[in-house]
């Protein structure tokens, strides 16, 4: 699992790549939180396009980043999750705190 984080006009973008599970969640959490702290963005975009697997550890990861963003009154958007990952997200009701958007690139 790799993550590339950069700032764009729309906000802070974290591009996730690979499999998200409990094993890698801690590392992702630290890297994304560091970038949130440094940039204090209004919007955090989690780009899921290249994510090949995610279980409930990924839901915990999104919820935790949402809480971080709340301390700066910011929002979280989940971008382009593949179908089977979207199913885990739907089941969790994560959409109540982070909008899932599909955009063409």
């Amino acid at each position: 699992m790799a993550v590339k984080i950069y700032t764009a006009q729309e906000g802070l973008i974290a591009v996730l790549d690979g499999e998200i599970d409990h094993h890698c969640a801690q590392d992702l959490r630290e890297k994304i939180d560091q970038a949130i702290m440094e940039n204090q963005p209004e919007l955090l975009i989690l780009d899921f396009q290249q994510v090949t697997f995610m279980d409930s550890s990924g839901i915990g990861l999104i919820m935790g980043r949402y809480k971080q963003m709340c301390t700066y009154s910011g929002n979280v958007i989940i971008r382009n999750p593949p179908l089977h990952i979207k199913r885990v997200m739907k089941l969790s009701g994560i959409e109540r705190i982070a909008k899932i958007e599909t955009i063409k690139i």
Partner: protein, 148 residues
């Protein structure tokens, strides 16, 4: 029910083995040629159960997780994940969506809910101090190019 093929592996409860166990599931199930969606469902359910054994079961101890996968008649996949960790006091409560004993570790309390919804059957056996066994089943759809 007759077992057509099966595999059993045992591995130490360290988190890298969450990924390894998913890879084993994918490798073993090539012979039944599941759809992308079926395979994703099973891999996710296995990942939840194995992660639970590692995160909760062996929180205060060390030990092995046993994974057994069987292919039964009529394209039914049987999976058993067993640990000899701390066990669960109240299984019914543990299986409620959003219930977690580790919220400070950013756990969502959704593992059992995922297993329940992605598999056809889920059965949990547990005893405090002895460990936990999760048994799941899923019937795969018909497949034209299935080998006899």
């Amino acid at each position: 029910m007759n077992t057509r093929n099966q595999i059993k592996i045992s591995f130490p409860a360290i988190s890298i083995n969450e990924r390894v166990s998913r890879a084993v599931v994918s490798a073993f199930l090539v012979q039944v040629d599941p759809t992308v969606e079926e395979l994703a469902d099973i891999r996710t359910a296995v990942s939840e159960a194995v992660t639970n054994s590692i995160v909760h079961g062996y929180r205060k101890s060390e030990g092995n997780v046993d994974l057994q996968i069987k292919i039964l008649e009529n394209r039914e996949v049987y999976i058993r994940i067993k640990d000899r960790g701390c066990g669960i006091e109240d299984i019914k409560k543990a299986m409620e969506p959003l219930y977690t004993t580790a919220p400070e570790e950013e756990r969502a309390g959704l593992g059992f809910a995922v297993m329940q919804s992605f598999m056809d059957k889920l059965h949990v056996r547990s005893k405090v101090g002895e460990g936990t066994t999760v048994i799941m089943r899923k019937k795969l759809g018909d497949n034209q190019c299935q080998t006899k």
